[in-house]
Amino acid sequence: MIEITSKCTGCSRCVPVCPFGAIHVADKKAVVGEACTLCGACVQVCALEAIEISRPEASADLSAWKGLWVFVETAPVLKPGKGGHLEITDAKTLKPVTHELLSAGRKLADELGQELCAVLVGDQVEGFVDELASYGADKVYLVQDEALKDYNTDLYAMVVIGLIAKHKPNIVLYPATYVGRDLAPRIAAEIHAGLTADCTGLSIKDGLLLQTRPAFGGNIMADILCPNMRPQMATVRPNVLRKDEPQPLKKAALVRETPKIDKNVARVKTLEKRITAVHGEKKIDQANVIVSGGRGVKTKDKFKVLEELADLLGGAVGASRAAVDMGLKPKTQQVGQSGTTVMPRLYLACGISGAIQHIVGMRASDVIVAINKDPNAPIFSVAKYAIVGDLHDILPRLAAGLKEKKK
Amino acid sequence: MPGLDAISRGLMFDSLKQYAKRRIPYDLLRELDRKNEFPADILKEMYDTDILGIHLLLIPSEYGGLGGNTFDITRVCEALAHIDLGIATSVFATFLGSDPIRVGGTEEQKRHWMGRIAKEALLVAYGATEPDAGSDLVALTTRATHVVKNGKIVGYRITGNKQWISNGGVADVITILAAAPGGPSWFLVEKTAEGFSANHHEDKYGIRLSNTAGLALDDVYVPADHLIGGVEGQGLLQAQAVFGYTRLMVAAFGLGAGWEALETAIRYSQQRIQAGGPLSKKQGYMLKLIVPNAVKLEAARAYIEETAHRLDGDEHGLQTEGAIAKLSATEAGNKTAEDAIQALGGYGYTKDFPVEKIKRDVKITCIYEGTSEIMEMTIQRGRWQEHLKSRGQYYEGQAAEMDRLQAECPSVGAGSAALALRALNQVLEQVRLQRLTRHQHVSMRLGELIAQAETAAAFARAAAQPHYSESVRFDAEAWQAMSRVYAREAALDLCLKGTKLILGAGPLPEGFVQALGLDAALAAQAGSLEDQDLIARKLTEVFKSR
């Protein structure tokens, strides 16, 4: 239900912002038409708080909510620019986490016997539809507008709230990225939906989405359910869920949605973006091989052999929080709960004791090899191969061995 | 005195801890310790009211301070001792140095001098000790003579030497005890006074960050209004009046330094793997080097805090209690630091770990503000009078209180504490009958036994409370187990050591051992091992490895 209270003076501010053109002013008072989806965009701009939305308790009919949605995040393609820094280009790509969400979502949707839908919002992004289908989407909701070229909290929230209100999905998944973590709670607050942050596991339990996430700095895991409200929403940590091999022949139904987008809804405007990542510096979040060092490496100088090994193996150098705190490596290379979660094919942990907050950030790696002097170091509990010994003696020999092979 | 609330205290100590973490890391302490250097800049920052303003806690609110009460001050002393006892001593010296003003100064003097200490963050020193006058201040040789103008005393000229004065070389103002024509009196001397000079910073075993220096006063002139209280001859009384709580402060130093060493050892024990498991899982290690020290320190905490609350509840003097607190806490702190070195093995013996420094530092707490031996004498003297005056009812009364507590709360070892107090009563009575106090050794050992029995009673009282002091890091299960362990040991020690004392000096009368309650004290030992295992486990839970 939407109600215009007596506070309304007919100022018309809400009229242009309605994505569905459902509001007009008559007799100095706003009037809401049937096109209204209860998206709430008008409430945001009303200075007099004259618009009240009350949503029917979702519990009234949970079965009306169907389908599993994945919010698709695109990212600009970067190219090397001046001074070694990377620069943003106009080209976009799908963030890899989208593939992970669709792959995981596919299995959950099958178990529920419901559709897997991708929500694709942006400008000139239609080209991604087939890619989304290849990772499992049955349907793609496409909203394209010049104003949606870059992510904007207000615009994107308005669009997605409108879609949810209209199509009533059972589940909505978002990536736990800067964008997903900015957008999802805003939507949840508006529609009184449950939202579980930063999940590392998803499954179905008694028809409900069972959401698994770490808490207390990774010291415990919690399983979260949302039994009485819809949709069930979660942000999901990148690099944790497996992505499947794409199936290029699979097609998805395309549903174009054309809400009216008013740029003025965007109250926060981006003045400039700066990329601080340096060209050539391997990023840990997408590396196939990570050679990671901890307190045991001791000095910046002694990190060099790790860098050499990473080069030889075509990987990136990571670091534990202790090593970052000691100033041996920048924060961008930190693996763990308070750094980046990684899932490389090979994780070589050198002189890392394995605090829980580190382990939660790397335990999904395919093969974990740990080198530590202390045979009881907790890192060994997650390692496939545990090498007990001094990294300062072992690593230079390993590097020499690898170089020998390269010749 | 009302003092601060728990939240404010907690916030102040958090600020202190954060400051220390940022500004005084162990590497710096180690370097200053090696160089025997007083960190003047750190002390200046700690007194800076925009950074910490720690000295304000020691100054009454009417003179621009924060009006911390005795409990607040013991708590801040403990917190300081966790950081460095040398720095703690420097702060303490300002407090001690301003004490004669607070206790004996005229209103005018208090307003002027306390106000200046608060506002100008003056470092103060307490100039009592002399080369030939330590705890025995009567042997004072520093002299103050009248300067008379027009038949009126307008000032004094002070001549003499002071020794081992904390902050001596760095203080802005020194309170000097000198023999005036009317008797020992306190004078305020500013460091700029002509004829005043400080000797070199002593090369000490520990607390090397604390400036300790001899002072030379050569015909130093001070105006008449620098005589504290305006009346000559009050000096010794003024000095005595504060021992109750100044000794409590040193007790808190022993507690803080002891815990710092023990925490290091407990955390280390969980990381150090020997023969397939961490040391913390080895009963032999924990029950020898860790648990007994935790128990003694927490018993001392209970006694210190009980005494602090009594002083804040407007009881005066409490010199015997101050002495018991100091003896229990500083000896426990010293022993703990010693054991912590052992607990860390070879590492403990190196300067890479802080425990050897704590050991050197904490030793001073058994020496300054009255040595442990002076404490034993003070305790024995005080309680001997009570025993005689009450005709043996003094400790019987306390034992009866423990009986009642045992009935109410059977899990705190009050029954064992009652056994200790009754045994003490029997021993004191036998000493009286055989006139054994003529042996100084017997008297001083009695001092130690009295401290042990009374500390057991205080611990049982505290452990039976429904809510513990904010300073207690343990739950009731752990703290009550500690209280039981302490009380059991006290019960047996009182019986055995008391009997040994009497036997050593004279005959043991028929029936003495039975009256002593040795059988009950032996029976009370049941369950001791289980309690100690529990404490060992709780200690590793609270002080986790990092």
Binding site: V45, Y178, A188, Y385, A400, L402 | T49
Partner: protein, 263 residues
Amino acid sequence: MRTVVCVKQVPDTTEVKVDPQTGTLIRAGVPSILNPYDHFAVEWALKLKARHGGEVTVLTMGPPQAKAVLQLALALGCDRAMLLSDRAFAGSDTWATSYALARAVKKIGKFDLILCGQQAIDGDTAQVGPGVAQSLHIPQITFCDSIEVEGRKAKVQRHIDDGYEIVEAKLPVLCTMSLPHAHPLPWPSFPKVAQARSKVLEVWTAADIGAEPEKIGLKGSPTQVHKVYPPPLRAKGTVFTGSASEMASKLLDILRQENFIKP
């Protein structure tokens, strides 16, 4: 400028350990602290107050003990503090918490800026800030490093992938602050702590803020914690010991075996 800072008292998670036998959290000896991100938000609120004048109100929801973090904020220079404390709030998830905080902000009155920490270190959700912003119908800027206010506009630096952006918004706006690495947080001096005792600290109940009962506590929380358990550890792998050169060649074998280098 009128600023409201939303803060939370949290257990110091760096001190939390799990009992390996029972899988439960060992809370013994774990101190409660002001969430470090919120501490940074308080620092920013006061920095902006020093530049532009005005008043800073600090707000939290929690048990009576949470007063401690409000006292810290007051000692640091905030002007007044509000504690939402009521058994009816128990069990609130991020939705119900956002709702209650938003109601309280409304009761506090007019404001230009709301600051929150980006997330609390116990839950790590980062959801309450945006939730409050949406409930108040004001714009949000999340994961911020710094804020400049000029007239009625805020210019904010915030994190994005691989870098940062500068954004601009009209006041009122809600910003969630991220905490720069190794940033030294401010701590109050002893006299500032003592002075804070005479500042206003009000305790409000659910009724005081006019909260609808079905929107707070367990009832108002869409999410429910189903189960809590220790993180699973992998089965123990193979352990190798030996000389450095033996270990190095063993590593080469492993890399070969796992197809990271050619045989």
